[in-house]
Amino acid sequence: MTMLHEDLTALAERAPTSINDADLWHRGRRRMIAQRVGATVVATATVLVLALIGVGGFLAPSTPEPIAPRGEPVMPDHFHNAGKWLPGTDRAGWHGPLIAAWSTSRGGWLRSRPGIVGVSAVTGEYRFLDLPGRAVGPTVRDADFALSPEGGRVAYWTSGEPRVYVDEPDWVTVTGYAVVSTLDGRTLATEEFETEVGLAPEAMTWADEQTLIFEFAQLVIPDDDRLGRLGCCSTDREVMRRDLDSPVAQALPAGVSNSFWHRGNGRGQLIWTQGGADDSFRIAEPITDTVTSLGPSSLSSNSPWALSPNGTRAASTWGGPRGSLGGIPPVIVAELGEGESPARRVPGQWGDRYGHVLGWFDDEHVAFMDLWGGPFRDNDGSSPSELQRIHIDTGEVTRVIRMEQGGPGAAQFALGLLDAPLHEATAPPRPWGPRVSATLGAVGLVGLIGLLWLVRWRRRGRG
């Protein structure tokens, strides 16, 4: 019997006695350098890929295919909140016609700013609209723009130089308006008005795809001449029409004035009520410069009237005392006529709904924006806004579009496209902001510098 240790020792004696040890050290050094170069290359490539993903995600515009065959307009069945870092039309290009647009916060390097998101009627894509010269400030609201009935144009107020400079923080002086094509971003109309300290925009709407109606007053300088407290406004308001084939806007007939609530039906007609003691309906056809006075509604409204496509009916929400019609506040429809325009309540359960009439799908169905989600409230109790199609005689309600909560409830729609075929909408991308990309890049750079420092430190340690 032999001991294993001794046997192994004896067996090991059969091992070679020497190796080719020439150049082992330098081969080891070369291998080490190759490994470190490889590691550095991999690390750098990783950093670059991360940076490219980050920057690419922010910069690269998506190019979705048209949703409908032949690129015909469609209506998404769901509107999502828009991410702050969606691409803008300056970089990604225009994507009209638009089915809807709304104001929302747009990301910036230092702070967010008001922006307008437009949803393509062809691709369903969301993009911020880059509107040259757009004014957003104390005297003009984010939502002061107008999407045309077919979604091909956007009108908005522009800023410029008044005769008197206003020394106030964040002051933006409104001096005119502009119209751009949502198909290619071309400026179709722009005009500046004489103003001492700026305009006070009142309303902006489209009579049809070609005719913009807008109303403004002049801001006034108070008697004490302190520009820091501008008075609003001149008593005379300008109600003007801009035919896109004309070089400048023209004043509408004298009867079309002093109303905040002009609304177009997208078919060349404009409706408003005079307000005050004279609550008669006025129907204007700007193209023919005619204004028709009709009898007042037998029921009062609390929001602007929407004129039906054939111009014979108007719909709004009831403005009478709460409860006397069984809920808050139901849709009412007035049959326009001389003397008095008889109005009636649209049947239905109105107690848990709240909203306003957006327009008409056709002469029998109104488009109602229910801000409480109405009968379709979610199981979890949340109540996202939704656009409903309501039959004016039966009160039958059909959910058309669901609006994500806290988002596009105040969207403007292309009224002429409301009856476009529905399609199942997908959520828009939520790209990273440049700060995330920059952070990724910075982390990668710091990592790379750290790696290089480590390599150098280890070399120095060996030296």
Partner: protein
Amino acid sequence: MDAAEQDFTEYVAARQGALLRTAYLLTGHAQDAEDLVQAVLIKAVPHWPRITGNPEPYLKKALARENISRWRRRRWREVLGPPGQEPSQAPDGTDDRIDLAAALGALSPRQRAIVVLRHYEDLTERATAEALGISIGTVKSHHRDAMAKLRRLIGKPVDVDRPPLVH
């Protein structure tokens, strides 16, 4: 030639025989033993400033691990033939040693490494486990299986009465 290179060269010159003997027991093949030692020494160069002074434990551990890695990379070689197309008879004609070489070749690389580290390098179970990066329990079970296999292959008891040195 800098100090580290000088130290490395001197160490290789002095200790390559010992490294080759361990490598030979691990591989069971002279050429593989040379390749293994060369590979381990080359890989040790980047770490040399840290291990200089007492590189032996690092290198023995590296030999065992590198051998297992190499075996995994070229397992076919182990399957096609026993390691050792060595002479079937030892130069001095000792049958036990021939039997032991063949029996070691029949062990898995990990079992063989455990036998070599425990009974040739005289490492404890704990040190063997640390050298191979496995648990003590795994060392014990592999060791038990390896010894049983050796006894069966050699056909007579393998004396392991002498306890290994405790480090």
